[in-house]
Symmetry: C2
DNA sequence: CTCCTTGTTGACCGTATCGGTTAATATTGG
DNA sequence: CCAATATTAACCGATACGGTCAACAAGGAG
């Protein structure tokens, strides 16, 4: 990877990266064409290769950038510095939206990357998705205050159900090509209110 | 399309069709290779063309078959012959699982087909997804008995949340390549119990 | 204006893949 | 053993792909 890329105006960097996230999120690694990324990013294919060397290097950069940005966003929103489950959820989803403003297709890219099967990519993505999501589930369960929930509730099932819904919601948004962070943020907040109402004792 | 296809043993027919559903659900129409379908279906590419003429014809057959099978399953499970929302939901999901036993990738295929953007396909798929899903939502709301729900509940939001979760759940199963109807059926029933508990007055 | 550096690209290359065809080979049934 | 049918390997032309390179544009320094 060529360091000159980072000397580009930030806006141009992001335009290129987002083009790559988009194309890699809509196609499998093997079938994602570099030429399409270049076109979508508004530069020539030759220049794209000039910056990133080859396809795999570009993919690796996208992956590590996704990791780094996600970690940063989670940290900035103090996601884990509360015991209230719904507050954690809220911060987590808001951080996701913030990220979406700069990189609309990063979430879809990560989701797809986790399940990429060809060995060339799997060696880049050491972690497997189940491990990551189970790990964060465990962390949340260690932290969270259990007293606010209804007594007859299977909390692990609640957790899974909520994240199924989040994924299903995002899937719809991506499919409709309606990745509008403000709208998504608003609807996330409404969903959290709903969940708070149905899953807790007080129901407020 | 060649009628000789239907004279094949049913098992072989299904193997070929499922191979096609699988490949078309994992790739966009344009990038789904006929050769891969043939390999996955255990026949030669030439024979595949012999039966279906060309790629578009195969796709059209898959689409109309999906429509027909879905309608049949919904009918067979008397999905709309009850006023109880959760009973309707249960029948709908059970019919989905029954279908999945014969055609594991049909659901994923339909979902993808609805959002296919290239005109060659859009003319085949007249209906657009939002129309279809809104139509079935309206039908359900006309039929269902509202008295069983908590009074403080926004029912439309509940409806959306539930179907987000169903889609998110299925997405995970497909991504993990764990399309096991028995398992999915079991977990669907558990989810329905959960929803009944949290969304209704009695909560049972 | 010239010269040099830097950024950028169109055109090109070899290869792989794709949709579709065909001539030939299996297989089946009488 | 033969004829009809089922099935395929091999092929074809077109295109798409990853990657390269020589040339061009732009901008500043002298």
């Amino acid at each position: 990877m060529n360091d000159k890329f980072f000397k580009l105006p930030l806006e141009k960097q992001q335009r290129i990266i987002n083009a790559a996230y988009k194309v890699f999120s809509q196609n499998s690694y093997r079938k994602a064409p570099m030429s399409e990324i270049a076109d979508e990013g508004g530069i020539s294919k030759a220049l794209l290769f000039h910056y990133f060397g080859n396809k795999k290097e570009l993919y690796m950069y996208l992956w590590s950038n996704a990791i780094e940005m996600t970690r940063k966003a989670v940290r900035e929103y103090n996601t884990l510095e509360t015991n209230d489950f719904f507050e954690m959820l809220k911060r987590s989803l808001l951080s996701k939206c913030a990220l979406m403003r700069d990189y609309p297709y990063m979430y879809a890219f990560s989701l797809r990357a986790y399940y990429e099967t060809i060995p060339e990519i799997q060696e880049v993505i050491q972690e497997n998705y189940s491990d990551v999501s189970n790990a964060s589930k465990r962390i949340v369960f260690e932290k969270m205050d259990l007293s606010e929930f209804r007594d007859d509730m299977n909390l692990e099932m609640m957790y899974d159900e909520i994240f199924y819904a989040v994924d299903g919601y995002m899937l719809k948004k991506y499919r409709l090509d309606r990745v509008i962070p403000d709208e998504i943020e608003r609807e996330f907040l409404d969903l959290i209110d709903l969940w708070k109402k149905i899953y807790t004792k007080k129901g407020v």
